[in-house]
Symmetry: D2
Subunit: 347 residues, 4 copies
């Protein structure tokens, strides 16, 4: 039986991981930690887990973590980088849902996260855990950095276009809309129901931490560095990200609705969790709520000669914990879809 640990499971990505891992027969949740809730029953904090998980929260430095096969970090940035080296030394493999190992450029990381990176030596080894791009390396990795939520939706939307070299990468725009669970489960006035419902606003208007991660990913597939405006919006719903992606067709290039559809069809034909919608159908975040699916539409606005891609995920599933489970499945050589066949909750 594969033994699993989760560090920092009191937030939304934590409880979502527990939901996805609770009923599996092929892996066993051994230890769940929380600094603040140590000694509390997990299902007292999250009554939705009653009857599914009977563990208490252990201390963050619980030795049981060292006996796990896989440990997930569902912690704020800055935590994993302190503990990961020791776990790796003990032979544990790590999936970090935080930002600590996502950026290869450590100076860039330190600029955006305003702290010194405590574990730069492991950054080169860390595999960026977007399965649709890095499946092979994930399978071999000791340490995987699970992508951010926005970066997942935006990279999956843009990559086929960039690889095919069809668009002018100097004018990219990713206008993204996220539900409030993206802000996490922390006491803050801005995310009160009285503040964050019945309203929409942009944030990170002059720059957002996910920007460098997205650019790092897009640059890898583009012939030249992209010039991207990434503009996130706080949207009055609990779950979901819709990324509306814009790109001008490159001068001298010709595309049609059909050629774009074929490109995306080819790109994602074998991907279990990327669902290209038929022409004329477009994603809504509700259709992936609770599911590990990224639904994508690609559109040619002929009169503008520009491409629009719509990419929808559940930020807590394909944008975080579901993707982390997908990564785990790959690392362990399990069927990639194990435990991830949930149908979206509609309505």
């Amino acid at each position: 039986m594969i033994r699993i640990g989760v560090v920092g499971a009191t937030g939304y990505t934590g409880v979502e991981l527990l939901r996805l891992l609770a009923n599996r027969s092929d892996v066993r949740l051994e230890v769940v930690t929380s600094r603040e809730r140590q000694g509390t029953l997990v299902n007292e904090l999250f009554p939705s887990l009653r009857g599914h998980i009977d563990l208490e929260f252990a201390a963050p430095d619980s030795p049981a973590l060292g006996d796990c096969d896989i440990v997930f970090f569902a912690t704020p940035h800055g935590v994993a980088m302190e503990t990961v080296p020791e776990l790796l030394d003990r032979g544990v493999r790590v999936i970090d849902l935080s930002a600590d190992f996502r950026l290869q450029d450590i100076a860039l990381w330190e600029r955006w996260y305003k702290t010194t990176h405590r574990c730069p030596q492991l950054v080169p080894e860390a595999v960026y855990g977007l399965p649709e791009v890095n499946r092979e390396q994930i399978g071999q990795a000791r340490l995987v950095a699970a992508p951010g939520c926005y970066p997942t939706a935006i990279q999956l939307g843009y990559i086929p276009l960039l690889r095919a070299g069809l668009v002018d990468v100097s004018q990219l725009i990713a206008d993204a809309k996220s539900g409030v669970s993206g802000a996490g489960r922390k006491a803050a006035i801005d995310y009160l129901a009285g503040e964050a419902t019945e309203s929409i606003k942009a944030y990170g208007v002059t720059g957002h931490r996910h920007g460098p991660e997205i650019e790092q990913g897009l640059n890898r597939h583009s012939g030249q560095p992209v010039n991207l405006i990434f503009m996130p919006h706080l949207t009055p719903m609990i779950r979901g990200i819709l990324a509306t992606l814009y790109a001008p067709v490159k001068a001298g290039t010709e595309v049609t609705a059909e050629s774009l559809q074929a490109l995306y069809q080819d790109s994602y034909a074998n991907e279990p969790f990327v669902d290209l919608l038929p022409q004329g159908e477009y994603p809504a975040t509700r259709n992936v709520r609770g599911a590990n699916t990224c639904q994508i539409s690609v559109v040619h606005r002929a009169e503008n000669n520009r491409v629009v891609v719509l990419s929808a995920i559940d930020n807590l599933v394909k944008g975080a914990s579901g993707q982390a489970v997908q990564i785990m499945n790959i690392m362990l050589g399990l069927p990639e879809t194990s435990g991830l066949d949930q149908v979206a909750l509609v309505p």
Copy 2:
């Protein structure tokens, strides 16, 4: 392989049935019907089912229904009673999610549903499908009437009190709050997002169709006919019912918080889908969202000498389609929890 049919799957209980049945390996969805959508791919109407269900909607009189082992009716009232006799004659067993066979008193049914019952001869045979009450009969039944959403939450909350004879049944009040999905997926101004969000109201103020069903159920467990006010409220959320149940302690009877807790503990100790919360914890509908669980708390208001029971379900799961699947499992002799181990979607 057990063959399943669903009649009328374009509504919310229909799509929820499909969600719960989609990934099972022990039963196979053979036919899904819709009068209006005949010929359309099911997953075109419900893109959440893409990759899970590839059927087209068949005609409501599809002969394939007659080859099924079990047929669910997820139709408005008045439909099942027209078709059920023929299916039973062909050896099909039926689970009706509509109201057609819930009331044993046909005159009462006709008064509330304002139509003539077309199949009164089957009413005595129909089993009321509340597993916690009728498990044995469900197992043997050809025709099961799945309970309504409010009746499920309210009966599970009240029954232990009534069976124990602890309360004065002449002063019962069930103040119930339901999400908008209870009104179904039909075009109506009252349930537009612009009308039904950011507001709460009572409806059915002078009487509601679920009243007689609830009373029929409660009377069975009470020594005398109950005098109940059932007051439903339209609540600005998609899913969930919270029933707040009130009852005075019967004169000459003594109860304590502990004795009530013990009573409910005993009553539901072996029920897989009734979750009695520990003293001091109370249900919220979010904690059962998408799950087939009824979470219950029982409280003694000592200074009032009255009992309050809080009972929460997902109206589309334990209040409709999940319960229907539970009924199916019982009818087929499958483990009662098969396909029903989903953890609630929180947040």
Copy 3:
């Protein structure tokens, strides 16, 4: 020009007071205080007030308060009782929106608010500011305790019944549903959009601070102490309270739908802010959103021989700041409806 001060205007009742006072020509907002935001422009914290209010938050002990004609306290409990005596000494009249002066029984207050009352000597003088009950005394008062939100909805709903002696007061139930703004504008996980939307729950299940206030008010109009269960519910909307009130008809008494309607019609005929709906129409909180109106329906459930009253307010307007402005108008001899003619915001 009448000079107005507001102490503690960073919460929801504070900003609502500012909204209602901003455009009046007969009173002038002189000073607005905040301990935490001192020196900040009010309209920087609340951009909805840009162009309407140009003040900065002053210190809570700003001497300008002493020069006001009326000072409102929109503070948590425990603040007003420290400062009010000094202001009264300086000739300022005070309207306290907090709970400090609502209960005449100081021991009871101290039990529920878990602190020592610092100003018991003023409690007897404080007028309970429900205009429909205490209009005369409010007009003469130096110190008015504005009622709580639940107490306003519930008292206005019950009082005609109690005064008429029609119901058995030993079996009262007030099942009340409030939007999240009732919890105030403070950082707390429970009221995050990710926690408090798409769900309903009861709270204060074994007792709530507003209970004693409601009972104090109801007892005054009833021949004997009432036995009331007050059960509040957190409802996923920003504004609004709906109170569903139940009472058995007293033995030996006869009521009809018409007699009840006439009773309420007579009781509120001259009340500008109590709107009795015609028979067959029922309140929804949206219809009073932003307005100082309490909409009421009274229903006789003949088959139960019980009365149900539905009472809806905007918790921040008639339940707090609008009522405070109404009180101010009465104290100052202004038309009672001055500045309170807003039509509810629908949709």
Copy 4:
């Protein structure tokens, strides 16, 4: 006393007009029509208007319309163009909130609205009612076409940039997010609370009727025809539009955050309903809910050398009925802000 009529007041722009006109002392609502609700009390359909409006809905061809000074059309497209000529002949001035007279290019109108224009002769005379652009002509007009909701937010956001010639108009993108009230008050499954809440989606992905109107407006202020992608999104809130506008800085042009701020400051210095936010503050739709304000921020993304403008309105106020009242005030020579000083409803 100025006499006002409203044709077709059963929709959301209709009830919003009534809200804004109800309490004015300088104009009087004489007649309100509805084909379907003729003979019903207006305040029976909209209980929020109880105590404010006592009219019944009159027939759409009520002769009382001909005695009005101003008649508003709050009708679907295709209605006003049938009736307006006769009203103009009788000396009535008309403000049309529908699309009938917004486009000067009749062939374009007929292509998008899929019907023959029945009144092309009046189109050249009709004034496009964006006060910030056409104040003078509005003052003189007999017939004013009130702008659409998206066009208002987007034009106010883009116009200063275009007039100043700072941006490359071949790469404009208006990514707009609207609340559900924009879809109107009509029975349609897509806008049920169970469908349109807790989800976001793009619509009109390959083109939307407001596109030509926006382009007509932008072209007027730009040296050359713009190439614009207008992409609307259905957002799970009742009211509000946020338009996120993108434009590359024109080659050879230099802008800074400060120069942009100054440009917008100058452009809107005298506009009562355009509120340029200070640098570093950004709009949220809640801050204009119920108010006739357009809040705007302008941002230079220096690393991209592109401009982003954020423009927020209440779609039913500045995007429809509030703007119509503003137009009326201008036409009648009243203070432009009469009846429009409502503070936004926050929270």
